[in-house]
């Protein structure tokens, strides 16, 4: 059997080829110099990926071989889509991709012993909450479309929620690893419903409170939903109590309903979701145009570069926020149902690999960390794709690795680094028969 790293290298080649072909398609569409520019871009991309691969070969030789190529695939795909929207945006995105890989390498370098994270879990939790709060801080906070998601410090602008999600998952994984036993044992049945012990449930209420707080202060239903869903996923995996999930969901729905009716911005988003045709040129414009763009895609799509993003002859947006929120609609428009299913399949494969890591991991923290990171990643993809396809209200969450946005790309590469760290240890331990027996005994 080939080694994991050789499999990774083999998997990277088709990714680079896809990027090359994608750029070639966009170039030819724009009747620009086809030449060898797309080849150069493809070569650059492959070179950066190979460098990362070599680094992984040295530092994490046993880590999961498919995660990095799958994420590189999404990045490549995102780069082509963004390039097709706006050349300068794609250049930014490429820079952030490189920056993301640098942070990826640094994470692996400094957190090789990721148990460190457990020791600082309250600090990490505090940082996570502070990051969430930052967009409301005077001077640095920024409001976009009614939601407070951005922070601007000098020339540096970023979306702290992207980083916050990692902090919160790390904290929850650590906390739940420690408390899962008491949460299970201390649970009692009241009126046929298994309730968690109140004493240990305080911090859980804090997470619920934080999600509600996000609704109120950040005013973003999407990130709130994403955080809370990740929390419930972890709670379920840690305790095995489905009733906790049901209670949690009920609490979220009640809270979200309450705030959705009281906070105008959140309320509008829900109204638009329920009836976008009420204001087709106003608040319903984005979701309607997103759906109309998908309707034009059909099975096979119109082809790279063929979709309409602005109204011809003007700069008026036909598909608002095509490079971020509604990039999935553009994918359906240009690559059709098949292309979109391909993208969803890649997310599903990433989720599968992530959960596989969690299954292989020996200790509780590793298991919960891998589960949490994978869940938050998959749920983020669900929240934005679901928003664009009107499964849930449309909110301003990015499509991981595909949407334009530095914070998103960099944060998700840090997330990937953590997953690979867990994976490397899990697979090394699984390869040692003695360690394996011990690990099984522990779970």
């Amino acid at each position: 059997m080939t080694s994991p790293r050789n499999r990774e290298l083999t998997a990277l080649v088709p990714v680079a080829l896809l990027l090359t072909a994608g750029f070639a398609a966009v170039f030819s569409q724009e009747n620009a110099r086809l030449g060898n520019l797309s080849l150069i871009y493809g070569a650059y991309f492959l070179a950066v990926c190979v460098a990362t691969h070599v680094y992984l070969r040295i530092r994490l030789p046993s880590a999961d071989p498919y995660l990095f190529p799958l994420m590189a695939l999404l990045t490549a795909f995102g780069l082509v889509m963004i390039y097709r929207i706006d050349e300068t945006l794609a250049r930014d995105q490429a820079n952030w991709f490189v920056l993301g890989l640098v942070l990826f390498a640094l994470t692996i370098h400094f957190l090789r012993d990721y148990d460190l994270l457990e020791r600082y879990r309250y600090t990490i939790a505090a940082v996570g909450l502070l990051l969430l709060l930052a967009p409301r801080l005077p001077g640095i906070g920024q409001q976009v479309n009614g939601a407070y998601l951005g922070v601007k410090i000098g020339p540096l602008a970023f979306q702290p929620a992207e980083f916050s999600k990692i902090c919160i998952v790390v904290f929850l994984a650590s906390y739940l690893r420690e408390r899962r036993e008491v949460l299970i044992v201390g649970a009692r049945r009241v009126l046929g419903v298994t309730l968690p012990p109140l004493k240990h449930f305080g911090p859980m209420l804090v997470v619920w409170g934080a999600s509600m707080f996000m609704l109120v202060f950040i005013r973003d239903l999407g990130s709130s939903l994403m955080f809370f869903a990740a929390f419930l996923a972890l709670l379920y995996v840690a305790t095995g109590r489905f009733s906790f999930v049901v209670i949690g969901m009920a609490m979220f729905v009640v809270g979200a309903w309450f705030f959705a009716t009281t906070i105008p911005h959140v309320h509008d988003r829900v109204e638009v979701w329920l009836d976008p045709y009420a204001h087709p040129t106003g608040s319903g414009y984005q979701i309607l145009q997103s759906i109309f763009a998908q309707a034009d895609g059909g099975l096979f799509g119109k082809g790279f570069g063929e979709g309409l993003i602005t109204i011809p002859g003007t700069h008026a947006a036909l598909l608002p926020a095509a490079q971020t929120d509604t990039i999935y609609a553009l994918i359906v428009n240009e690559l059709g149902l098949f292309g979109a299913c391909g993208v969803i399949l890649v997310y599903l494969l990433i989720a599968a690999r992530g959960f596989k890591i969690a299954l292989l991991a020996a200790d509780g923290f590793s298991k919960l960390l891998a589960t949490g990171l994978t869940a938050v990643f998959a749920i983020q993809a669900f929240v934005i794709i679901g928003g664009v396809t009107r499964v849930i209200p449309l909110t301003g969450v990015t499509l991981p690795f595909v949407s334009y946005g530095g914070s998103s790309i960099v944060a998700n590469f840090v997330l990937l680094a953590l997953l690979l760290l867990v994976s490397d240890r899990a697979r090394r331990e699984a390869a040692q028969p003695a360690g394996r027996g011990l690990a099984l005994g522990m779970t």
Partner: protein, 486 residues
């Protein structure tokens, strides 16, 4: 914990499955409905970037074409109508902001060259730019011009001319006309003009009392149902009492016992009123429906822009055979009976074609940018309202109308003409200004009677004159033009 992790993964799979489901719904299953939403400007914006095909008259005259504006990414095409108002109806218009109508709307897919999904993939691979196909119509420019200028002389109304054997529509003219080139600037004014209603295609949307032209339908039902033969005589007094109200002949003339020929030639109301009662509502409605009444005419125009003919009830819908109607008055084309000029032309065409009604069609063929004919009209039968024998008997009776009866102005020297006049009184019609002397004047017929080449209906609103005075001459001019052009 592993069991829970597997379950969590299963849940994520379900969530993503929902995403695939919704994406499929929007992009494939509901796509057609979404493309037709008003708020969706994509189809129009995209079409604007395609050179829409031309619309041509039968002799190659360009009725509509697209011209390029801007270049590069802002390249778009704008519609031009070189013949101006002549073909405003039935061709309609197509603009991004104002939308499209009539023929332009119905044949949109051919004009923008929408092909199969597979075809467009091939185009993408070969890098061919999508280009629309030309649609060649059956419209005869000379006859169309004659029809419109005659109409403009006589008043508001419409003319429809159909080739009986194929259903090809040679003329479809409506007065008041409009110039589609003006639509982008003046759509609101055109819409607000409630007196001239230039945007109303009177040929397909003008619902008028058909008057005595409908007696041909009654006669057809009588012969076809076996209620009468051409020899059957019915006593036709000056007046009969129908539903408690007198039903009179013109000048309450008493004709005594007469047969079909005499009754049709002199358009005897009391004769046809009694015939209608004898036929019964079922048989009369059956024949009407076979001629196309109570249904949207099967023409290549958008369904919402072609009105049904029939006995209009209070809910603005045609009544059916079980609804109560005053049968004697329906039989002479009165009561609440309303018909479009297209419908009356279809009646004439069916009789001219030996009783077989061909679907009227404006288009003839679709030609791709390389000049290949990609699709061609295949004449098809809509129904057979009457037998060949009945058609012959009706033709004989209708020849009498033109030779010695109420329709002498339709006569063409050297050509036998079969036809029927109609003059429906429309007193107090608000559209005519509410005067008491106004009539709806009609002529419908075909020529040559022995070997019909063209069937025509002409109708004039709000005239104080009779069908023979204002409508028959239009029939004659248009028929002569078409027959001479052969």
């Amino acid at each position: 914990m592993n069991r829970q992790i597997v379950k969590l993964f299963a849940f994520i799979v379900v969530l993503f499955g929902v995403l695939v489901g919704f994406t499929s719904y929007w992009s494939v299953f509901d796509a057609k409905a979404l493309r037709e939403k008003n708020a969706n400007k994509r189809p129009l914006l995209e079409q604007q970037q395609i050179r829409r095909g031309r619309i041509l008259a039968t002799d190659g005259t360009v009725i509509a074409k697209s011209v390029a504006k801007g270049h590069g990414a802002s390249l778009r095409f704008v519609r031009r109508y070189p013949e101006g108002a002549l073909y405003g109806h039935p061709i309609g218009y197509s603009f991004v902001r104002e939308g499209d109508s009539e023929f332009e709307q119905f044949h949109n897919d051919q004009l923008v060259g929408r092909e199969s999904e597979f075809g467009s993939i091939l185009d993408e691979i070969t890098g061919r730019n999508r280009e629309g196909n030309d649609v060649v119509t059956n419209l005869d420019p000379t006859a169309q011009r004659v029809a419109l200028s005659d109409l403009e002389e006589q008043g508001f109304g419409a003319v429809v001319a159909i080739e009986p054997s194929t259903g090809e529509v040679k003329v479809m003219a409506s007065n008041k006309p409009y110039d589609p080139n003006r639509v982008p600037h003046e759509l609101n004014q055109l819409n607000r003009n409630e007196i001239e209603t230039p945007l109303l295609d009177r040929a397909t949307q003008g619902l008028y009392p058909p008057g005595s032209t409908f007696k041909v339908v009654t006669a057809a039902a009588g012969l076809e149902s076996g209620t009468i033969t051409p020899e059957t005589t019915i006593v036709a007094p000056g007046t009969i009492i129908d539903e408690g109200q007198p039903l009179n002949n013109d000048f309450t003339e008493d004709f005594g016992p007469i047969a079909l020929d005499t009754a049709l030639t002199n358009s005897v109301n009391t004769w046809f009123g009694q015939l209608g009662q004898k036929i019964g509502q079922d048989a009369l409605f059956e024949t009407m429906e076979k001629f196309g009444f109570n249904a949207t005419p099967p023409i290549d125009l958008p369904e919402d822009q072609v009105y049904e003919s029939g006995v209009y009830g209070e809910n603005h819908r045609p009544l059916h055979r079980n609804d109560p109607v005053d049968l004697a008055r329906v039989a002479i084309g009165q009561e609440r009976l309303l018909a479009t000029p297209l419908q009356i032309a279809m009646v004439a065409a069916a009789i001219a074609n030996g009783g077989r009604l061909m679907k009227p069609q404006i288009w003839n063929r679709v030609v791709d940018p390389d000049g290949r004919v990609v699709d061609r009209l295949d004449p098809s039968e809509y129904s057979q309202p009457v037998s060949g024998q009945t058609a012959e008997e009706l033709t004989t009776a209708m020849e009498g109308v033109v030779n010695e009866g109420t329709g002498t102005n339709a006569a063409i020297s050297g050509v036998p003409v079969a036809g029927k006049t109609g003059t429906a009184e429309t007193p107090g019609n608000a559209a005519c200004g509410g005067g008491s002397e106004e009539n709806q004047a009609w002529f419908m017929g075909f020529a040559p009677a022995d070997e019909p080449k063209i069937a025509i209906a002409a109708s004039i609103e709000c005239t104080t004159q009779f069908g023979n005075d204002v409508a028959a001459p239009i029939f004659r001019d248009v028929a002569e033009t078409i027959l001479n052009g052969e």
